[in-house]
Symmetry: C2
Subunit: 410 residues, 2 copies
């Protein structure tokens, strides 16, 4: 049985809503944030850590797992849940993001919001353009699908709608995603429309394939594209929103700024069916989550909280943050003699057991324990943050929550 | 109150003995193995992991911690136990090993047993000689002490007997170690004797300093040197064994082969007082532990089990091992589809939760979780191994234990 979405409260002043998605592997309270397990592993954090922290959903990657270890192998090993020993719901993306990150992102030297360089691009590949473009794309798109040159060994790997869905059926995640083309924020209206209409044709092929080889509990999400072009986003929302998907993702280029992203959500979401969960792909900054929830988003995923952690940027209460993003930089000398935890208000394992001084030391000494302790903290922060978002919607105080959170941000 | 060593059973056929060392931070059953926490962190394994695994003692490093974060800072932060949140007994070595690993080891391109290249030498430093010597030593020895050039930033750092002991008092470990010169297996009899007698003069200065600035619960271990020269080992055993140390380490070059190491133990140990715990520094292969215990060693430390783990070499029961060292190489393709745990007889967290196939995948994908899961397994193996060593001594079956363990090793 695919997902069952129960919307429990709607915010009267925005499009925010709170509810529960029921799945075969357990419930997901919404709005929620999922951790990224690209290669069937959240970096430096084990499944039981994630359960203790309160993660209810993880997202793994079709392209990466199809290359290594191979989706047929994962299927033979009992599917992704058993392989990685994660008992709660799982999502896989379709490989469509890699059409961008290994393609136009390298060519153009941009991220899905144009001023952020694509962080997922392997460092060796980002050398040529160094964020200024000019690199050689590792994939080639045609009407039928996409040919990738493997970032691991250069071998050719083919993904098309049917193959992406079959791979995701083999991996066995609860939520799987239609194969699409994620375009570049620098793509023209003409090219973005061409890509969009191809993606719409692919969407129907995904639905057909899904009916043939899905496991009973798997739900299929469609992806809305269209870049930062209003007419294309509206067209995509109508087309994808009108197909028999179980859930909907807002994907693709989100424009040249956060403002563009907000506009895209404002154009798109009112056109979508109310009853289906909506996932904003690859977005995870606190302020972006609040803005997304206010516009009707239910699910978020992003590698940033764990990546920030590994780089020394730890999430804290606004009052003790060093910047507007609510982070401190643990490598800063000011923490070297600080016996207090990262955040005195945090109830995570790391804050219970270790001081800033010790984490500062571990980070500078590049000790492996650092990566786990820091990642646990940032993920627990995200879970507490999402809980307070949900609580404010349930209690009818989401507007106050937003004004607190946006306080002092100009 | 310093340590109190209660020897409970002696093996009638060898010098093996089993007992308990009582310390202010808890008991240590002997013979035992301690994990290495060079920079106040066992690589990839947190203190509560170590407690669950059953580690009773860790060893941290004076040279490394004096450079970063600094022993005065650790003292101000409450001492090493509090800094790293480890509640059980701790040992620190004196920096004497770095006199070798950053000195003669680089010059000669050897480890403390001549056919093993020093694994602690930073890779960048081991380049010049690539195990064949010819590198530029990073320390200079004089009668009074040793001047190091920091491997971190090139700054000059001075260690002498008084300073090493003061640093160790600041760090606050339960067991601290006299500052010595660890010589090279390639050093001549003449040089080894000169170094040995200097080390003996340093031993008396360490004892004097210890009396002045120790914390009540700290015990001081002496180190016996002398390379692979019988007369020098015997001289050192008599001199160091006759000084008022609380425990004794067998240190320094252990010759050119395992056979030399056994001879050194056979010459030395009969000359030592029965009542003091004996620690064989830096040795941790299973067979070496058995040989050491049979010759009267109570304590072992070695970075190898966690280093093996990180490199893919996992300890297993003899029946399922791929080599005489009782290991499998998890990166081997034969494990890619293996749904069984590393070792079906193992009760560690990793074996309870993850398959060889998954660990194989994590290791090949260089996922950070791999390092923790593999290290937990190898340390738990070591603890189970030491427990069976102890049980065999207590039950009078150590001879059978040895013959089982040496079976099939030629």
């Amino acid at each position: 049985m695919p997902l069952n979405f129960d919307i429990q409260h709607r915010d009267p002043n925005s499009r925010a809503r709170a509810g529960v998605i029921h799945t075969a592997h357990g419930d997901i309270e919404t709005p929620n944030f999922m951790a990224v397990a690209t290669q069937a592993s959240v970096k430096a954090v084990t499944p039981d850590d994630l359960e203790s922290i309160g993660l209810q959903l993880l997202i793994a990657n079709t392209y990466h797992l199809a290359l290594r270890p191979g989706s047929d192998k994962v299927a033979e090993l009992g599917g992704l849940h058993e392989f990685m020993n994660w008992k709660r719901p799982l999502m896989t993306d379709s490989g469509g993001f890699q059409v961008f990150s290994l393609g136009a992102a390298i060519r153009d030297g941009v991220g899905k919001i144009a001023d952020i360089f694509p962080e997922e691009t392997p460092p060796s590949l980002s050398q040529p353009g160094e964020g200024r473009g000019g690199g050689v794309p590792l994939c080639k798109i045609d009407e039928d699908g996409v040919s990738f040159r493997s970032h691991l060994d250069g071998a050719i790997m083919r993904l098309d709608p049917e193959r992406s869905i079959q791979i995701q059926h083999q991996l066995g995640a609860d939520f799987i995603v239609a194969f699409d083309e994620c375009t570049s924020p620098l793509d023209s209206h003409e090219y973005t429309r061409e890509a969009l209409r191809r993606t719409h044709r692919w969407a129907e092929r995904c639905i057909e394939q899904h009916a043939k080889t899905k496991r009973d509990y798997q739900s299929l999400f469609g992806i809305i594209q269209g870049g930062a072009y209003r007419d294309l986003r509206e067209e995509s929302a109508r087309v994808i929103g009108g197909l028999p998907f179980d859930g909907l993702c807002i994907g693709g280029s989100l424009g040249k700024s956060k403002k563009d992203m907000h506009a895209i959500l404002d154009w798109t979401i009112p056109l979508l069916p109310e009853s289906k969960p909506r996932h904003l792909l690859g977005i995870g900054e606190l302020q972006d989550i609040v803005e997304g929830v206010a516009r009707g988003i239910d699910l978020f995923d992003c590698a940033s909280p764990t990546r920030w952690a590994r780089n020394g940027a730890l999430l804290v209460s606004k009052e003790i943050a060093e910047n507007a993003e609510q982070r401190i930089n643990i490598s800063n000398a000011r923490h070297a003699m600080d016996r207090s935890p990262i955040d005195p208000l945090c109830d995570c394992y790391t804050c219970h057991n270790f001081s800033r001084a010790y984490l500062h030391h571990l980070q500078r000494a590049k000790e492996l324990n650092y990566y786990r302790l820091a990642s646990i903290h940032n993920l627990q922060f995200m879970m507490r943050f999402m809980k307070s978002v949900r609580a404010s919607i349930h209690s009818g105080t989401f507007a106050e929550f937003c004004s607190q959170k946006t306080n002092g941000r100009g």
